[in-house]
Subunit: 377 residues, 2 copies
């Protein structure tokens, strides 16, 4: 293994499965990496040795620079902040970082789910009055990974391509230039509307989890993708995906079906989504969540399906499959995902034309007056 | 065992789990019993010996009078016709029987699901011009039973009480007088609106099946009730049940929650539905359906949930939980259950006041003029 010494300094926020893998990999590749987690408990074993072992597709280890639950220490002098916390934490982490951020720092949400970068950007604008921090979002997490303990991540597979956009979108190429050194898989999306609509977690996470509720709640493990997604479950996913694509087409962004995306990302092919999933080796062995408090519902419903339904409504697009999964998720969990989720209103998209949405994504804000005039007209 | 010789002649329609058990039991109790099934294949082994073995809660055997796939032969000279086919077949079987029915014969749907007796009665009115056949419906099937082969039914448990109503409701007591000789469990319901709304299959069948879709479609067997209905699944059932009860209260019928019903029917107690199910011995060992083509979806959604949702709409009652399960059922199966199901319109309830609905149930029909006048006013 070649140890590279790179200048860029990274901070990884969140010591979950994804954060451990990303911190370990960046460190293994020779970067200075801080790892932050809000609760210190999760970091105890890492604080001793600061070593993360990687197995699976990537084999090796990475030595971290700093392991901390102090946000100021974590992001001080950092060039790129990789946020790996669930979307439910995006707003909070933005508020926590706000006082300590410096102009020119880059925040990348891995992933943003739907509307993550927009929400974080708006929060930073509010908290910092003006904002020269670049907020980007990846359209999905780069790895299929599980980290049972914080010192070891098993990477089943890294995706071949992950699109990324910054807000303002004029900075996307700049961000990619920096990050492509270590992750050449990141490619340019038109803007954060594209990464937000091309959120395939919305397809793969809530519906299969809910349609396997009984076994997940009883914690009877099964292979989440290849066993949990039967032909009928896959049909539901295809319906959700069609609604997502309709929204994407109306927004004039590049989007491909989940089936095509699976082939592009993992090389899984099939004549329909069911077959493509069965033929995706990266999915083999990925176990089901062990209870219904999983991110697959509590993150992906309010931060993926709810914004899609809400943007769909804004655009006059019917989303019966998406809506039915939100309804069932609310019934099963007793949560009010629509009330607490990322609606178009909360994302500041309500009342905007499609052109204005893209303008917002490109410039970071639009003239309030202009949008006001539009509404009056 | 005392063999009784009774005068009443029964015909059981349908040689599924329930039909086999019912035919066997009636014959064992000394009645003359014909068994009809539309397809002869299912009857082949029974045609040879005409003996049905019963095990479980009831042990013994019954010798049938006639086993046939000829409807005329089946119902000729019969006093009570016990229909055990799925609700999807109610309309067809009514049409098939219509030419051969005689005034005074009694048809009992076991069970009617929601609106079964009303639908069959209307069909007979249409087909026979006038109708003096009594159509009754039981609120649920009397047994928890499985018949793997047509010559043997295993009865896990018979319910302690099953309400029954005839249309016209003025004949309910007459029907009960006859049938209570062999089935004292049947008790009087106010009318078919009560039996139709107190359709607990609507609670116990579609939601747990859909929320265990993956394992059912892969045919990984589990105990349907005690394993498939986890606490979160039970929460969904309680929400559906609350909506059902709200409809029942608006219709001024007697109704109890599914939890109370479970105790009344099977002696299963608990402080909530989850606990009551776990404490219902009759449910232990009842296996899950082995695919998604099950009656639990294809019968209970269009013939239980759809009419409840539709009657709810008619009464101005919101049914978000019921609606979400119908939506998901349509997504999972690709079927249009609302379009093809028993809507209030199809049951002839559209445009009626609550008083008129009960009048229809009591008399068998209401003056068209009166209902017309009501609408004009």
């Amino acid at each position: 293994m070649i140890i590279l010494k790179k200048e860029l300094k990274y901070c990884v926020i969140g010591a979950g499965n994804g954060g451990i893998a990303m911190a370990g990999y960046l460190a293994m590749m020779g970067y200075s990496v801080n790892l932050y987690n809000r609760t210190a408990e999760k970091l105890f074993s890492l604080m001793k040795e600061k070593v993360i072992l990687l197995t699976g597709e990537v084999e090796g280890y990475g030595i971290l620079n700093k392991v901390t639950s102090n946000i100021q220490e974590a992001i001080e002098d950092i060039d790129i902040i990789m946020v790996t916390v669930p979307a439910v934490g995006h707003n909070d982490i933005a508020k926590e970082m706000a006082p300590y951020l410096k102009d020119g720092q880059i925040i990348i949400l891995n992933p943003g789910r739907t509307g993550g970068a927009l929400e974080v950007y708006e929060t930073l604008l509010r908290e910092r009055k003006r904002n020269n921090v670049i907020v980007a979002e990846a359209q999905t997490f780069i790895y299929a990974v599980r980290a049972e303990i914080s010192t070891h991540a098993h990477i089943y597979k890294s995706k071949k391509e992950v699109s990324l956009a910054a807000i303002p979108a004029t900075k996307t190429k700049y961000v990619l230039n920096l990050i492509n050194e270590v992750y050449p898989q990141f490619i340019e999306a038109k803007d954060i509307l594209e990464t937000s609509i091309n959120n395939y977690g919305a397809i793969f996470h809530p519906a299969p989890t809910l349609l396997n509720s009984g076994h997940i709640e009883r914690n009877i493990p099964f292979d989440y993708y290849t066993e949990g997604i039967t032909p009928s479950v896959a049909n539901v996913l295809e319906k959700i995906d069609k609604e997502r694509m309709e929204i994407g087409k109306m927004l004039q962004i590049n989007t491909v079906s989940a089936t095509v995306w699976l082939e592009e990302s993992y090389g899984g092919r099939g004549k329909n989504l069911y077959e493509a999933i069965q033929n995706t080796p990266a999915y083999k062995g990925l176990r089901s969540p062990d209870n219904l408090k999983t991110r697959y519902i509590h993150e992906d419903v309010p931060y993926s399906l709810v914004p899609m339904e809400s943007i769909g409504t804004l655009l006059g697009i019917k989303t019966p499959a998406i809506s039915s999964i939100i309804d069932v998720a609310e019934c099963v969990t007793g949560q009010e995902f629509r009330k607490n989720g990322r609606t178009a209103d909360r994302l500041g998209l309500e009342g905007l034309t499609i052109a204005e949405m893209h303008l917002l994504a490109r410039k970071g804000r639009i003239s309030k007056n202009r949008s006001f005039v539009e509404e009056v007209i």
